[in-house]
Every structure is written in structure tokens, then in C-alpha cells.
């Protein structure tokens, strides 16, 4: 009886994690292995692809798509910083001064999510069109030169990314700010900290877990995104996502697409580890 109990207790964690593990193995690990395997195959769609351990594909795609890789990280990073700068005050205000309207305000924050991501981006394409409702009017009033355009620029793509992933930044920030014990803030005041000091030495450090999580949640999808570059960008704003999409679905160069996906993933992982070390989990544990 008691032996059984002990066995059950020992097996329990494994049993409990089983569904999740199975899920991860089936839908994360297996596709990942397949993708990496595929990247070293050679061939074409009609004759099929054969495993030849052709690792040369890696330097080849890195060389061929170096600009897209760099651009992705540049755009993803810029979008993350913009999203942070914009959503920190927003999340702060909701958390500290939202009062009874907090729920409403949070709902408003995620409201755009009820519309498809693609539709929202396309809407910006219309709003910012050269002769559209905004630029068209400004041009008619001679506030902008007639040749001015907002679309087809890197600014447009970065803004689109920041806009689309803003809630991913704002919500974790809100959560971490909301969790800050108000008495700690008051205590700082009692100890004669100025408003600036309270923020820099108490609130900001305590909200770092939110910054960390929000940064990850924004940076990773923004770097891999291809919709914003396609819809809002021009000829020189393609990100690595666009290149991967074309390699897979247009050129049927599955190995090249797989290799690029693998490289992007590895680069992101390395980036995340560096980031975690800098702003990392240990400091988060200390603060929480």
C-alpha cells in the first residue's frame, strides 16, 4: 500500500508532464530534426531530395542572404526598442493609475488582436498610401513634397513590426508592474527618494522581468516576420522570413529554406542566451 503510494509519488511528475512532453516531441522536436535533416539534402522537387550531408548549403545561404539576415535583426531589434519605449509608459500608467478601468484599458490594448494580423497590416498600407487619406491630404495642403512616400521604407517596416507586436511587450510589462508591492514604492518615498529615484531604483528594477519577457516575445517573432516587409516594405526591405518563404514555396529549394530556418533559429537562441545573461533569469529570480 505505502510502497504503491511511493511509486505513484515518484512517477507523478513524469505522468503529469507526459502530455506536454509528447506534444513537444511530436510537434516541436520531430519537425526540428526533420528540418535540420532536410537542410543537408540535395535534389529538386520532381526527382526528390536525397540525403547527401551537403553542409555547403549553410555558408552558401549565409553569403547569399547576409543582407536579409542582418536586416532582420536590425528591424527586429529596432521594433523591440520602439515597442518598449512606447508600451512602458502605457503599461505603467495602466498598472499604477488605471484604477477601476484597468480591465477596460487592458481590453482596449488587446482589441486590435481581434482583427487578423494581415488585415491590420494591409490597413496600414491603405492609410499610408502615397495618395491615401493621410499623405494625400498633406500633399494637397503642400505640407509634404509631392514625391514623399512613407511606404516602401525601412521606417514603415519597423513601425509595422512595432505596432503589430506592441501588446506582446505591453502585457508582460503590465503584469510585472502590477505585481510590484505598493508599500515598497511608498517606503522608497518615506526614505526621501525623489520621484526619479523611486522609478530608477525601485520600479524599473522590479519590472525587469517584464522587460525581459516582453523583449523576447517581441523580438523573436518580429525578427522572423515577413508580412510587414512584404506589405509595407519596398524592394530593399526584405527580411530573412521573406527569403525563406520564397525559397520554400516559390523556388522549392527546401534544403536552402531549411538551412536558413536553422541558421535563424540558432542565431536567435544565441542572442537569447546572451540577453538572458545580461538581463537574465538570475536577476529575475532575485527580484521576484
Amino acid at each position: 500500500m505505502s510502497g504503491n503510494d511511493r511509486l505513484g509519488r515518484r512517477a507523478a511528475p513524469y505522468l503529469l508532464t507526459m502530455p506536454g512532453m509528447l506534444w513537444l516531441v511530436a510537434f516541436f522536436l520531430a519537425p526540428l530534426v526533420l528540418m535540420v535533416t532536410l537542410s543537408t539534402q540535395t535534389g529538386n522537387l520532381l526527382d526528390g531530395f536525397r540525403q547527401t550531408w551537403h553542409f555547403g548549403i549553410y555558408p552558401q545561404v549565409i553569403w547569399q542572404y547576409q543582407h536579409q539576415f542582418l536586416r532582420s535583426f536590425e528591424y527586429g531589434g529596432a521594433a523591440t526598442i520602439i515597442a518598449l519605449v512606447v508600451s512602458y509608459p502605457l503599461a505603467y500608467w495602466i498598472a499604477f493609475h488605471g484604477g477601476r478601468r484597468k480591465t477596460t484599458l487592458l481590453f482596449l490594448l488587446i482589441l486590435p488582436f481581434f482583427v487578423s494580423f494581415v488585415i491590420r497590416t494591409l490597413a496600414w498600407q491603405f492609410i499610408l498610401a502615397d495618395d491615401g487619406i493621410v499623405l494625400g491630404a498633406l500633399k494637397r495642403w503642400h505640407l509634404l513634397p509631392s514625391g514623399y512616400h512613407a511606404l516602401a521604407t525601412s521606417t514603415a517596416v519597423i513601425s509595422g513590426l512595432a505596432y503589430n507586436f506592441l501588446p506582446f511587450m505591453a502585457l508582460p510589462l503590465y503584469v510585472s508592474l502590477e505585481r510590484i508591492d505598493r508599500s515598497v514604492v511608498e517606503a522608497a518615498g518615506d526614505l526621501y527618494a525623489s520621484g526619479r529615484d523611486v522609478f530608477l531604483r525601485v520600479i524599473l528594477p522590479l519590472s525587469l522581468p517584464g522587460v525581459f519577457a516582453g523583449g523576447l516575445l517581441t523580438f523573436v517573432p518580429a525578427t522572423g516576420d515577413y508580412v510587414n516587409a512584404d506589405v509595407l516594405g519596398g524592394t530593399r526591405n526584405n527580411m530573412v522570413g521573406n527569403a525563406i518563404q520564397r525559397e520554400y514555396l516559390e523556388f522549392f529549394h527546401y534544403p536552402a529554406g531549411a538551412a536558413m530556418s536553422t541558421i535563424l533559429m540558432v542565431l536567435l537562441l544565441v542572442g537569447i542566451f546572451a540577453y538572458a545573461r545580461a538581463l537574465g533569469t538570475r536577476s529575475i529570480q532575485e527580484y521576484v
Binding site: L46, G48, F49, L122, F126, L151, V231, G234, E250, F252
Partner: protein
């Protein structure tokens, strides 16, 4: 007036294109199309999963042979009309009344008793095929009995692995009688063994006459420095490379790799000057209407719909113009075909035949304004809508056809890859 001489596909070499050079065609409603494209990313990976089964990606080009006549007969003998038809087509590619019903489909139901479930699901070959290929590879029904697929690469994706049901021509009497002899027996499907044409269309230049105050005549008007940053170009590797080769005075089919390089360099030079606004897929028409671009590579039917007033089912931009550059244009055909394991093949083949009735073809052409495979439709439209009947882009003459070229057909995979490498490098920056 000249005799109607719609497209002479048989004379124009072959129209078969290699894998991987896909393009979208008629769809003008960007939102649906783009939505499908982006969700198609997921669909594509589903397809991939099927391709990847067993850890190597097996090829698809193994089973394509001419089926023995007896086998075809035996297959069709076993089939019966069921009264149901699942038809997959492109958006805005059939006539519609104010209630959104298609008179053509209603008439078909009246004549045959077959109820049509009409799905406007093909916003792009490149997006649609990954959704049906996994089922076909697994030997399963795709859910569609009839599909409309563009000649060249997309159709080859179905033809080469043997994913289409060979047609029984005893069902295709109307087709035999009324189809333009020049569209019958196309090089990409000799003897119409697997397909019959739905409509054809052209790739030329679309421009906004409010922004550009001079006539556009040549392909190289796209490179006019006055339009810097206001020029649209196709991203797909059929329309832009073939068009520039034609513009250089070459027949894409007989062009050499050195000429491809020269062509790609010409485009690259313009790219480096910042001539192009964007390499478009299908949303170029919205960019043109929004003033983002003034001039662009374009498909004939798109511009005609843009010109029409909203009341007439168009977009209401009468200032839009379409021109086939004097150096020549490109012509392509969308084809009806029945996928393997279709549940209602007899109903499907009856539809294939039905749309070749001149009256039906005329009504449809009047609405969608692409090139009809039924020349007799022109006489009918002379009475009801002479503007369409006399439009060369709907009913081209022999002269027109003399300088319209089909897409380059590749003889082997090496040629394909060379083409992709040379031309893909320009748009993939």
C-alpha cells in the same frame, strides 16, 4: 473587321514551365488573396510534412505516362452522374448577378440538374496547390471535382506525377465543336488528355493616365527616370523575366543563358537606381489605384476591372490604362482539370463541356473580360456588347498573336535552376 483569331497556342512553341516559377493570376481583391497567401505559409508546411514523410523527400515526377485508352474507357464506364459538383476556381473569375449568384452556374443546374458548390479558393496557384497536393500524394480525394490551374509550372505540378484524371472525349462534344482550334491540343497537354482551357490572359503594362501625361508604348517606359520609385514589377519568375526577354526582342523559348544574364543585369541596374517601388505579387493593382505606383507590369483583366465603374462591378478608376508593349506581350491559359479520386468526375466533365456553349461563353466573357476559348462568343457579343467584342485584349487578332509569347519552357532541371538563379537574384534582395 478582321476575323477573330484567338490564341494560337499550338504555334507558340510550348507553354510548359518548370517547377517553382509560380504566379497568381486573376485575383484583384488583395485582402482575400494575401490572407490566403500568409495562411498558406501554414498550409505549405502541412504539405511539407507530407513530402517529408520517411525522412527523404520523394520526387513527384515518376508516373506521368499516357494512360492506355482501354483503361480510360474502363474508368469512365464505371462513373455516373451524381448531381453534385465541387468546383474550385479563382475569385472574380465567373459571371455574377447582383445577388452574387452566377447565371452560368444556375443555367448549368437548370440544364443538367447538377448542383454546383462553387468555391473561390484559388487566390494563387502557389497557395492553392500545397493544399491539395498532400491529399493527392496520399491517394485521397481533395474535396474538389474540378479545378482551374494555370498552364506552366502549376499545371505541371499536377500533370507530371499523374494527379489528374484523363478525360473521356465522348463527354466533350461541345468543346470539340466550339473550342478555338488554336487552343485545342496545347503543347502542355497534347490532345487535351487531361485539361481544357477555362480562359486565357495577357501580361503587359498598366499605367495611370492621370499621373503619366504621355502615351506608354514600350516596355522600356518602365525604366523612364521620370517614374523613378513609382514603378511596379512582378516578383514571380515567369512574368518579369519573360517580359524583359520579349522586350529585348527575343523569343523567351529560344533565348540563351547569356541573354538571361543580360536581361537580369538590365533589371538589376534599374533596381540599383531605385527605379522600382516594390516587386509585386498580386497586390500591384491596389498600389496602382492608391497612387503608390504610376506604371507597372500588369495582367489584362485586372486593369479592365479597375477601369470599370463600381456600378458595373469594377473598381471605378477610368484613368487606368493597359497596353501590350510594342516589343510584345505574354500570354497564358488557365485550365480546367479533374483531380484523381474526385468524387463526381462525370459532373465535372459535363461542366467542362458546358462552358463551351457559345452563349454561355459570351455571357461569361462579357463579365470577366479575359480571352475566351470560344470564338463564336465574339459574334454573340457583337450584338449585345460591341465594346467587349471589339476589344483586342479579349478577342485578339492574328496580328496581335504574332507578338504575344508564352512563358519559357525549360527542357531540364539544370536550365530551370540556372533561370531561377539568374533572375531570382534580382528580386531577392
Amino acid at each position: 473587321m478582321k476575323d477573330p483569331e484567338p490564341l494560337d497556342v499550338s504555334k507558340l512553341d510550348s507553354i510548359r514551365i518548370d517547377p517553382a516559377l509560380w504566379r497568381g493570376l486573376t485575383q484583384r481583391r488583395f485582402s482575400r488573396r494575401d490572407l490566403l497567401k500568409y495562411t498558406g505559409y501554414g498550409a505549405g508546411s502541412a504539405g511539407l510534412a507530407a513530402f517529408l514523410a520517411a525522412c527523404g523527400v520523394s520526387g513527384t515526377a515518376t508516373k506521368h505516362t499516357t494512360p492506355p485508352v482501354s483503361a480510360v474507357e474502363a474508368f469512365w464506364k464505371k462513373q455516373h452522374k451524381t448531381g453534385t459538383l465541387n468546383f474550385a476556381n479563382w475569385p472574380d473569375y465567373i459571371d455574377k448577378d447582383d445577388n452574387g449568384n452566377s447565371p452560368t452556374l444556375l443555367k448549368f443546374t437548370q440544364q443538367t440538374g447538377i448542383k454546383v458548390s462553387y468555391h473561390e479558393v484559388i487566390a494563387d496557384n502557389e497557395v492553392f496547390l500545397p493544399k491539395v497536393l498532400p491529399a493527392l500524394q496520399a491517394g485521397q480525394d481533395t474535396g474538389y471535382d474540378l479545378m482551374v490551374i494555370t498552364n506552366g509550372d502549376p499545371l505541371d505540378e499536377l500533370l507530371k506525377p499523374g494527379y489528374l484524371i484523363p478525360l473521356d472525349h465522348s463527354y466533350l462534344k461541345t468543346f470539340e465543336q466550339y473550342a478555338n482550334p488554336k487552343i485545342k491540343n496545347p503543347p502542355y497537354d497534347p490532345g487535351n488528355q487531361y485539361t481544357v482551357a477555362w480562359q486565357s490572359g495577357l501580361t503587359g503594362i498598366g499605367w495611370n493616365s492621370k499621373k503619366i501625361k504621355r502615351p506608354i508604348t514600350t516596355f522600356f517606359d518602365l525604366f523612364d527616370p521620370a517614374f523613378k520609385g513609382k514603378v511596379g514589377f512582378f516578383e514571380n519568375l515567369q512574368d518579369y523575366p519573360n517580359a524583359i526577354l520579349v522586350a529585348m526582342g527575343l523569343n523567351p523559348q529560344t533565348s540563351t543563358q547569356d541573354e538571361w544574364k543580360k536581361a537580369a543585369d538590365m533589371v538589376l541596374e534599374q533596381f540599383n537606381k531605385g527605379q522600382f517601388r516594390h516587386f509585386y505579387n498580386n497586390n500591384y493593382i491596389d498600389a496602382l489605384e492608391n497612387g503608390d505606383i504610376w506604371i507597372t507590369q500588369a495582367w489584362s483583366g485586372d486593369i479592365q476591372i479597375a477601369q470599370l465603374s463600381v456600378a458595373d462591378g469594377g473598381d471605378g478608376y477610368p484613368e487606368m490604362r493597359f497596353v501590350i508593349p510594342k516589343e510584345g506581350g505574354l500570354i497564358w491559359t488557365d485550365n480546367m482539370c479533374i483531380p484523381q479520386h474526385a468524387q463526381h468526375p462525370v459532373d465535372a466533365i459535363m461542366m467542362m463541356d458546358f462552358v463551351y456553349q457559345p452563349q454561355v461563353a459570351a455571357e461569361m466573357t462579357d463579365y470577366i473580360q479575359y480571352i475566351s476559348p470560344v470564338p463564336a462568343a465574339q459574334q454573340i457579343l457583337q450584338g449585345s456588347d460591341p465594346a467587349v467584342a471589339n476589344n483586342h485584349e479579349v478577342f485578339p487578332t492574328t496580328d496581335d498573336l504574332a507578338h504575344w509569347f508564352p512563358y519559357k519552357v525549360f527542357k531540364d532541371n539544370a536550365e530551370t535552376e540556372a533561370w531561377k538563379t539568374i533572375f531570382g537574384a534580382v528580386t531577392n534582395q
